[in-house]
């Protein structure tokens, strides 16, 4: 903490300075004038007039007139849709008439928001991409972050939809799902929103735009949390002196049923024949003779066993088996489980402002019917209100409030058996029992009818699921800013977020879960079964609470004089985020009267019925109290930017953070993150005389960002809340071994870029080149287990990333038919430059996501060298010491250098091509994404799973080696019995299953019809927009692999995970 003292003093001095500095006021005067079109001389209404770098703004009235309060030296910016912006520097005049030149599509000079300030793009030296309001709202129906996909450069979404995007490649290696560690920092209306808050609590209709901060000059201001990039979300607010606007929008989306056939699967008949073959080998003896835990036996094996015991004759058996061969669980899933999901979003909003106040208010209602039958629809209500005012001179107060109430049911997708031919329903649609944990033939007779029905029927479970969560979120912003003297503003901002979730999970006595527990704890005496587990429902109540508070004090200075422009900022802030949760369990619950059974002893070990799952068991409960996790940050930051003659800009920033994760030692070791940058507006130079170049700017930046990994270097133990089951003694575990050397991760970034606009602004774009070095990365390092730990998180790795980004906007056709193209190109290559080598084997590279070979690409894909199939028995062969070998374990153990290294498993090149064509009021656009230069591993057979887990495997089964000579035409190994140990793992990870993943995909199409008052004067509203979006089309236009595989579908799935389905959304937006 001591090291803060110096920064603290700096801040104090600045604060005190503000107190003693005498106030200087420039002379205020009122300026009037008219705005007209330079082409037609018509008066222009609704032209926005803004005093540059000040909050003052106004708009022209219907006659094109305006008046605004200004001071000498102010710069007025006139802007209107369809016209080029015009800037006028004021002298002492009182009247100013302005003519604006029309442009079909001016390059949007949008301000860059960093969450601390908004920066004029002319003076911005960093790299940032913005998804503007129009492009954002064109993707109605999608999630907020998802809309960045294939629309901005440098943002890559992983294959799994649930994962967070990465910005400009990998910066950290520490990845734990759900912790948001490798995810970008998300900032909503100036304040970070950590991963514990639900992004869905923000209504996408309330969002104005999204900015992605990519390099040090842009993101380093977020210091130790900026390492993975920053996504800044800004919501809509009212403006001063703006007339009251109303808008309404509605959309309706249909998501198709999941494509159950997307993953290839072997034929049911083949699967059954394998079962028959295994039965002949007495493979199921152990299961069939198990008279304690009674593991699952598949229906076909059950029939074959009955035939063997001569309980049935051969004709009956064959008829039964033939019946099973006709079943296919996918058919039943389509019919009884899935449905089209339907999503609706309705929204009304208003905003406006007077001279001294502005306001906005919106209401949203979203409803979502899931793709599972018998599921309740989720419903969200959102309210958002903003109010800003200037109660006295120089003082401005801003308040904002979001409130979201969301009711969402948990998924009611039951667990399905892995046996692919167990029907879910009979011919009349009545639910049928399928295998779950215990053999079905045993469950039929267990207890001779004295127990509750013990079968598991997935379709009944779907219907009985009663598990709903009600989440309420509040987000409050309060801020006051005071103009201390000309150019200097002081402000205080406070943000409070809270999210309360209340989940009620009711499992009635009809559910398998409760029936199973009642039966397990039953004892039959005579004719009566009595269970220690109470009859009635099992109720779990979960409460979660997440809260964050942020307090920020900020001084902003902005001053322009003569040819100079200076702006600077000094901020101190502290934040805290706390989450906690509680769970209560009630047994024997009656939902009608809210009664439940008390005095249940959860510590007695009761006998389990026929020892079906152990000898004794305790009655389960789920009571839990967790005061949760607290994360705290204290940060100091400052930046300054100086521009000379609108030509040269210099920028610098510094930030220092402290957190409670690491302990004071680590906080003190950490150096401040800082950045510097510069830009040069070449086209503003007097000598610049190329008429075909409208603007040209070069920029460059250098700096550091950090990454906070929430692990501690201290030796800690965890005291467990529940005593040890056997002894009843309280105990502790050791989650983290001591690691006094733990440091924060640092990311050094260099960015050089060029912004340009050519040919009368018909072609504009940005090129960026960047280089990143991530050092002191915390990686999970496999250790010698003899030490006592198998893995240790240590600062052991370094990465080096090079990349190029290109964004182009082109207006190909102008006139009655307009054709615009947006093109994005990103190249990112991350190389591992340092990784602690601790005796890695080839198999470590096959399994790990991040390839820890120095000098190789991170997330590399390696495979075993392929030596063909052994002609004598069809077993796969690899290479060991340069010779053919079937000693798979020795190959796994070999150095990776002797095996294959293909390249990256993440696209090194990716981007998009967006085309939009419009004619009159109709426009059609299409979004095409491409991903190039990477590899994937195709799914294939796995005999071990097929034999031992009753899992249906890949149709490569049909291509398997069956006789000598087949090795010339196939690479699929023979079906050996028993499975040759590790041959499955060798084959699946051999080079023959690795393919190029490059592909081009048509994602979305949008058709839009727009009318406005300009074209139809009698229209009762300002404008109406109707649209139809087709998203997630997933039409592969080109792919590198010859097998026709979709490289994004390489994970084997067992009915539970499917590729994202096509969504058809239609809707309207009205501006009143």
């Amino acid at each position: 903490m001591k090291n803060y003292t110096r920064l603290k003093s700096v801040f104090m001095i600045c604060a005190l300075m503000s107190f003693f500095t005498p106030s200087i006021y420039a002379q205020q005067q009122t300026l009037r004038g008219k705005v007209s079109s330079a082409e037609t001389n018509e008066h222009l209404a609704g032209v926005s007039i803004q005093v540059k770098n000040k909050q003052t703004s106004t708009k022209t009235n219907a006659k094109g007139e305006y008046q605004i309060s200004v001071s000498t030296g102010d710069v007025l910016v006139f802007s209107s849709v369809g016209y080029a912006n015009k800037e006028v520097k004021l002298e002492q005049q009182l009247v100013l008439n302005v003519a604006l030149s029309p442009t079909r599509q001016e390059i949007q000079q949008v301000e860059i928001s960093t969450g601390y300030q908004t920066i004029n793009p002319e003076r911005f030296v960093g790299a940032a991409s913005k998804l503007d309001s129009a492009s954002f709202h064109d993707q109605a129906g999608k999630g907020i972050i998802e809309r960045l996909k294939a629309n901005v450069t440098g943002v890559l979404f992983p294959r799994q939809a649930t994962e967070e995007p990465t910005i400009r490649g990998l910066s950290t290696l520490y990845a734990i799902a759900g912790l948001g560690v490798h995810a970008p920092l998300i900032v909503v209306d100036n304040f970070p929103m950590d991963h514990r808050f639900d992004m869905n609590s923000i209504n996408p209709n309330d969002v104005l735009d999204i900015t992605v901060l990519k390099d040090a000059a842009a993101a380093s201001i977020w210091g130790a949390r900026a390492g993975n990039g920053v996504i800044v979300i800004t919501t809509k607010k009212g403006k001063y002196q703006e007339k009251l606007n109303f808008s309404a929008s509605s959309n309706f989306g249909i998501t198709e049923k999941p494509d159950l056939y997307a993953y290839d699967r072997m034929e049911i008949a083949d699967f059954i024949e394998v079962e028959r073959f295994l039965f002949g080998k007495n493979h199921y003896t152990a299961q069939l003779n198990n008279s304690t835990t009674r593991p699952i036996v598949s229906p076909v094996v059950e029939v074959l066993n009955q035939l063997k015991n001569t309980d049935i004759d051969e004709a009956t058996a064959e008829a039964l088996i033939a019946g099973y061969k006709k079943n296919d669980i996918r058919r039943d899933l389509e019919r009884y489980v899935f449905q089209r999901a339907i999503k609706q979003q309705h929204y009304i909003g208003m905003n406006g402002g007077t001279d001294n106040a502005n306001y906005s208010l919106s209401f949203g209602y979203n409803q979502n019917r899931s793709n599972l039958q018998h599921s309740k629809a989720s419903q969200d209500y959102t309210v958002k209100a903003n109010y800003g005012m200037k109660p006295i001179k120089n003082l401005e107060i801003n308040t904002g409030l979001f409130y979201t109430s969301a009711k969402s049911p948990a998924s009611n997708l039951p667990l399905f058996s892995t046996i692919p031919y167990e029907a879910l329903a009979d011919a009349d649609g009545n639910p049928l029992a399928t295998s779950r944990l215990i053999r079905r033939s045993y469950l039929d007779t267990a207890g001779n009818g004295k127990l509750l029905d013990w079968q598991y029927r997935p379709l009944d479970e779907m219907r009985l699921t009663d598990n709903n969560t009600h989440t309420k979120s509040i987000n409050l912003n309060v801020g006051a800013s005071y103009r201390i003297f000309d150019g200097l503003r002081g402000s205080i901002q406070y943000n409070f977020r809270t999210q309360n979730g209340f989940q009620k999970e009711l499992r009635t006595q009809e559910t398998y879960y409760v029936r199973d527990l009642i039966n397990r704890f039953s004892v039959i005496t005579g004719d009566v079964a009595k269970s220690e587990f109470p009859m009635g429902a099992y109720l779990n109540l979960y409460d979660t609470e997440t809260k964050s508070e942020n307090l920020r004090a900020q001084l902003d200075y902005a001053k322009s004089w003569k040819v100079h422009n200076l702006s600077a900022m000094l901020v101190a802030e502290r934040s805290e985020s706390v989450s906690s949760d509680r769970t209560n369990t009630f047994l024997g619950y009656d939902d009608e009267y809210e009664t439940y059974k008390k005095d249940i002893n959860h510590n007695i070990a009761y006998p389990i019925f026929q020892r079906i799952a152990g000898t004794t068991g305790k009655i389960p409960e789920n009571n839990k109290l967790s005061s949760g996790n607290t994360s705290r940050f204290v940060s100091f930051l400052a930046n300054a930017s100086y521009t000379y003659k609108n030509l040269y800009t210099l920028y610098g920033s510094a930030r220092r953070d402290g957190t409670n994760f690491y302990g004071a030692t680590t906080n003190n070791k950490w150096k401040p993150m800082w950045s510097i940058g510069a830009s040069w507006n070449i086209s503003n130079e007097a000598f610049f005389d190329l008429s075909w170049i409208n603007s040209l700017k070069v920029k460059s930046s250098f700096g550091y960002m950090g990454n906070t990994v929430p692990i501690t270097g201290l030796m800690t133990i965890t005291r467990q809340k529940i005593p040890d089951e056997f002894t009843g003694l309280p105990y502790a575990t050791i989650p983290t071994p001591p690691n006094p050397t733990l440091r924060w991760e640092q990311i050094k970034t260099i960015n050089t870029g060029l912004d340009f606009s050519l040919l009368n602004n018909r072609l504009s774009g940005t090129i960026d080149y960047f280089h990143k070095q991530s050092i002191d990365l915390i990686a999970s390092m496999p250790m010698d287990p003899t030490i006592g730990i198998t893995k240790q998180q240590i600062n052991s790795a370094s990465l080096k990333t090079n990349g190029t980004e290109l964004k182009l906007n082109s207006r190909n056709l102008q006139g009655p038919i307009q054709w615009n193209t947006g093109f994005g190109f990103s190249y990112v290559k991350t190389i591992v430059t340092k990784f602690f080598d601790n005796g890695y084997r080839a198999s470590d590279f096959i399994g790990l996501g991040v390839n820890p070979t120095e000098g190789q690409v991170a997330y590399g894909l390696a495979s075993y060298k392929w030596g063909g199939l052994d002609p004598s028995n069809g077993q796969p062969q690899g290479y060991l010491n340069g010779e053919l070998s079937k000693d798979y374990q020795a190959i796994f153990n070999d150095s990776i250098q002797n095996q294959n290294f293909h390249g990256s498993s993440m696209p090194l090149v990716y981007g998009f091509i967006n085309n939009s064509i419009s004619y009159k009021n109709i426009s059609l656009s299409a979004n095409i994404a491409y991903q190039l230069d990477y590899y994937f591993r195709a799914n294939t057979i796995d005999y071990s799973l097929l034999y031992n887990v009753n899992r249906v495997t890949h149709p490569d089964f049909n291509k398997r080696w069956q006789k000598s000579g087949d090795e010339l035409t196939t690479t699929v190994p023979a079906m050996a019995y028993p499975v040759v140990a590790r041959s499955d793992a060798f084959y699946a990870n051999s080079e023959v299953n690795v393919h190029r993943a490059d592909h081009i995909r048509l994602r979305d199409i949008r058709l839009q019809y727009r009318i406005n008052k300009g074209s139809i004067p009698h229209l009762p509203v300002q404008s109406v927009q109707l649209f139809l979006n087709a998203s997630n089309l997933n039409i592969i236009l080109w792919r590198a692999n010859k097998k026709g595989l979709d490289p994004d579908l390489t994970y084997p799935s067992q009915y539970q995970s499917y590729p994202s389905s096509k969504i058809w959304t239609m809707g309207f937006n009205i501006q009143f």
Binding site: A286, V634, I717, I787
Partner: protein, 457 residues
């Protein structure tokens, strides 16, 4: 100007608030997370079930108390430990080794390291000593079990034979180096003798060692070293403190008749690290072993259950001294019965025939059906008594992880026992003193440490 003054005042005071809290960053990230700061915390670490739960049933998997049907063996997967059945122990990562070192050795080492941060005072001496004694005991027990698997049995060549890495600190920097067999046993016995002075006479639960448990483990350890004088001495000390036997006539016939913490159990050690090939329903009791029990020997009924269906005539083990678990039920507990057998064996080897037979008969009387008179076991000589004791030793200590250690020491004494397995359409033999009597260390450990591997041929 007055308002402005106030506003500036507010601004500055808020700036103070933002900066003044020195303690703001000292908040623990989570309440349950704590740096061990009391002896209770250290005791809580030793209360973790990992310390008594993750003992290994590997010695039983290698031994000859059970067999597996050919078809069952073929159907089993590598995860069931099928290759251990014919003593193939070449694996990339070895759960047995890893569980010992990451739980039963690491946790005590953390405790012993952390103990240095606490001052021993007259108030805390008893707790301090108990913690230290427990830590030493758990670690010594793990070292001993590892020595039975990864080292040659203790013999004249112990000073040069490869031992195990003797990790006595939790410090990550310390490299793992294999000691000699002599050093390994010296460490075990040294630790146990230290623990003997520190531990109390009684412990709260049988999962916590006490003095009696230390005697028992010392006896077991010396027996494995074929130091029969000391083995007998400590068995005697152990039995003097705790000699209860369960009269099997009082045990109800039940699928799993024995209770978890029964009165014969001096120290309770469960083999949670189960090799499932030897458990129900795969492993069956060796037919000759089953037949060797007299019909009036209650163990025949209480230890084994006949299988059903087409497997009538085969038996599985259900006499676990754990009681609860019905998968394999292998325990490594130290029991009074084992101590009687140890002491009897040592008496016999010392030529004290009558004392030896007295111990054996004390035990056997409790195993015999009391509806018929107990036929006392007699012997013609001390050697004859020894043979009879060893027969009963095997029959008493089924699925206790002790047979492997016994076989290894018997073969050093020229008993010439060859183990046989018939699977995979072939016969696997394990002749005396074959290198496979010593397990291989996993590739992972060898690769990461460079320690020498145990030889094969």
């Amino acid at each position: 100007m007055k308002i402005m003054f106030l506003i500036r005042l507010c601004l500055i005071s808020l700036a103070f608030i933002a900066l003044s809290c020195q303690d703001f960053l000292d908040e623990k990230p989570a309440k349950h997370l704590t740096v061990p700061n009391s002896l209770d915390d250290l005791q809580a670490i030793l209360n973790n079930r990992n310390l008594y739960f993750w003992n290994s049933s590997m010695p039983e998997a290698f031994a000859d108390n059970y067999y597996v049907e050919e078809s069952v063996w073929l159907a089993a997967s590598e995860a069931h430990g099928k290759f251990y059945y014919h003593w193939d122990s070449k694996v990339p990562s070895d759960q047995t080794w890893n569980y010992f070192y990451t739980w039963i050795i690491y946790y005590p080492n953390v405790v012993l390291d952390q103990l240095n941060n606490f001052k021993e005072t007259s108030e805390n001496r008893q707790q301090y000593n108990t913690i230290k004694g427990e830590a030493l005991f758990y670690r010594a027990f793990a070292f001993w079990q590892l020595a039975q698997l990864y080292c040659k049995p203790y013999s004249e060549t112990a000073k040069t034979d490869l031992g195990i890495p003797l990790r006595t600190t939790a410090a990550i920097e310390t490299p793992s180096v294999r000691a000699t067999v002599q050093q390994t046993y010296d460490q075990i016995i040294g630790d146990l003798l230290l623990a003997l002075d520190l531990l109390p006479e009684e412990s709260v639960v049988p999962t916590k060692p006490n003095k009696t448990g230390v005697y028992g483990l010392l006896s077991r350890c010396y027996l494995s070293m074929r130091d029969y004088v000391n083995a007998g001495k400590y068995a005697d000390l152990c039995l003097k403190a705790h000699s209860d036997l369960i009269d099997f006539n009082t045990v109800k016939t039940d699928p799993l008749p024995f209770k978890r913490f029964n009165k014969e159990t001096i120290y309770y050690a469960y083999c949670g690290n189960t090799v499932s090939i030897l458990g129900n329903p795969r492993g069956r009791i060796d037919t000759l072993l089953y037949q060797s029990y007299d019909e009036k020997d209650l163990r025949k009924k209480l230890f084994f259950t006949e299988m059903t269906g087409e497997n009538v005539g085969s038996f599985r083990f259900t006499g676990s001294y754990d009681g609860e678990h019905n998968i394999a039920g292998v325990v490594h507990s130290i029991t009074t019965a084992e101590m009687y057998l140890n002491r009897a064996e040592c008496f016999a080897r010392d030529g004290k025939k009558d004392l030896a037979l007295a111990d054996l008969n004390t035990l056997m009387k409790n195993r015999w059906d009391n509806s018929v008179p107990y036929p006392s076991i007699t012997a013609t000589s001390a050697e004859d008594a020894l043979e009879k004791i060893l027969v009963e030793r095997r029959k008493e200590l089924v699925y206790r992880s002790l047979r492997w250690t016994d076989l290894r020491r018997f073969n050093l004494e020229g008993r010439n026992i060859t183990l046989v397995r018939n699977v995979n359409n072939q016969q696997y033999l394990l002749p005396p003193n074959d290198p496979r009597w010593v397990m291989l260390i996993s590739d992972e450990v060898i690769n990461r440490t460079g320690m020498p591997q145990n030889p094969r041929n």
